[in-house]
Symmetry: C2
Subunit: 329 residues, 2 copies
């Protein structure tokens, strides 16, 4: 089987050729797209490396899902609707069972979002998956990191930290009850990009980012880009870890600091952090309802630079939390 | 130095933000482009892997050049004008001298083509470079592989096979005089994407492809996509190797078969192969002149499937040549 056979068998599908904007898909030197007039094209690219972003023995189906999910999450953070993607794949060897499962996981998520594979590359090398994704957003309605204003509320979608708990359990660092691990592992291996929420927040949110490196690090990007600071309530955020609520605390494995660290520095959540003015609270709730995505208000944007954590009574929390860094981790 | 520092120091430049269609470049969840009305967007993605596409000790400057060049070559083959690109980079470690040279080579070529870096990803892993490139072409003027018609002339641009000779010399398989190796090595390590020729051939060429896996393999893609066959004159193609013309044949290192193999199966040429009707010969020459790119007419499209090689007197050449395959090589 040659690289051309791999592309033909696992990554070429006729129906996608007819998809929306795609004039020419897989199989020519370039794919050709006709962008919708009046729309901006949103572009994002993510690379996943074996041993760094996933375990060697991860399910290929889950890996296909996650490789696209992390990219769709970037579109969600911009409020863009997914349109198409390219896939570049370095494989140690051609393993047809692996390719079958990988492409199944990939296309299941792509189809759920109407996102067509339009091209890419296949080569021999250490397992590496690079996806570039394209979405559309009405001109000047994209959600950026730079729009947060003093007084805006800060929200996060869904739950945070469960992916990190699953990672640590799989690494043998902590123990989780099997049924809790199973759910947390789904969050780690098959995250749900918040595309519906992102598009619903157009014209409502003043800024947004997806949480891939941990809430603290990603919120810091919003603060820096917007030239503002923030105050976040840890009594609210500590309850964002779905798994923690069901863990037996008597074992002492999860103290408050550990729980907060899981929320703030966990990473791999692929939830949205976003800001909106207090006048938009009803609109934010309506967007959450229409997109069937829970959101939680966790703090407020302030003028003074930096992130300040407070507990439920308003007292400062002094613990420091860091962002995930691929070269330091 | 963190991954964010790497991006800020080596891959973020202010001037590009103002470039043409780019509304938001490096530094948000997505880049935002406003496509030009009436234009199609051409997209291509290529992944370069250490030990497979380049030697461990290749000059980082040359590598930066080549990583973008192979992608621009795909745009050239479609007749698209480069607009922007994303870069995903896996690095074993952060080597600032390497990054400085790599980004210099990358941006030198990008600037020469007015192509802005708009986003990407940086992570830790075995050296891997994945670039996705975007170009524009007027609606329905893109050059495709599928347009070749019976009776069309077949052309190639520039010279072929020199990159392969350099590769074999660097691998110690053959010996080349130093000054010839130096020139051939430039072709291997810093190929010139034929963007000017590609855009000049809009409305003239009936089909086109870039030659990355060798003339035989890439021409076969045109034949298959167009549902035609071809006859190619080996007496003409054998002279397409620039280096060969200057080699001392008395050493016997390069017999005719070896020379033909270098042309037909060499790979890494990044020249264009294209077809055009005989009525367009003057227009093809004018496109070659205006783009300052030599082109050579090497054969003709025929109805019978397959590629037939003939010598100068019209006799069949029976030698078989294959395409480059990353999983077989």
């Amino acid at each position: 089987m040659t690289e051309f056979d791999v592309i033909a068998r696992y990554f070429t599908r006729q129906p996608q050729q007819a998809a929306g904007l795609v004039d020419v898909g897989v199989g020519d030197d370039c794919a050709l797209i006709t962008p919708t007039p009046g729309m901006q094209l949103a572009v994002s690219s993510d690379m996943l490396v074996v041993g760094r972003h996933f375990f060697h023995d991860v399910s290929p189906y889950a890996l296909g899902h996650k490789a696209l999910a992390v990219n769709l999450s970037d579109l969600a953070a911009c409020g863009a609707k997914p349109v198409a993607f390219t896939l570049a794949l370095a494989l140690p060897s051609i393993d047809e069972a692996w390719l079958q499962q990988f492409s199944s996981g990939l296309f299941a998520l792509a189809d759920a979002h109407g996102c067509a594979l339009i091209g890419g590359d296949t080569t021999q090398g250490p397992l590496n998956i690079c996806i570039t994704v394209f979405g559309e957003v009405p001109r000047d309605q994209a959600l950026l990191r730079s729009g947060a204003q003093v007084g805006d509320d800060i929200y996060v979608s869904g739950t945070l930290g469960d992916a990190r708990l699953a990672l640590e359990a799989l690494q043998g660092k902590i123990e989780l009850p099997p049924e809790i691990l199973a759910q947390a592992r789904l969050r780690l291996e098959q995250p749900s990009p918040r595309v519906a929420l992102g598009t619903a927040l157009r014209g409502i949110a003043s800024s947004a980012i997806d949480i891939s490196d941990g809430l603290v690090g990603d919120l810091a990007h919003i603060l820096k880009s917007s030239g503002v600071g923030a105050q976040v309530n840890t009594e609210i955020t500590i309850n964002l870890v779905a798994a923690c609520a069901r863990i037996d605390w008597s074992k002492g494995q999860f103290d408050t600091l550990k729980q907060l660290k899981t929320v703030f520095s966990g990473g791999d959540d692929y939830e949205l952090a976003f800001t909106a003015p207090p006048s938009a609270r009803q609109a934010v709730l309506a967007a959450a309802t229409s997109s069937q995505t829970p959101v939680t208000r966790i703090g407020v944007i302030q003028a003074a630079p930096g992130l300040r954590l407070i507990d439920g009574s308003g007292k400062p929390v002094t613990a420091q939390f860091t962002s995930f860094d691929h070269f330091a981790a």
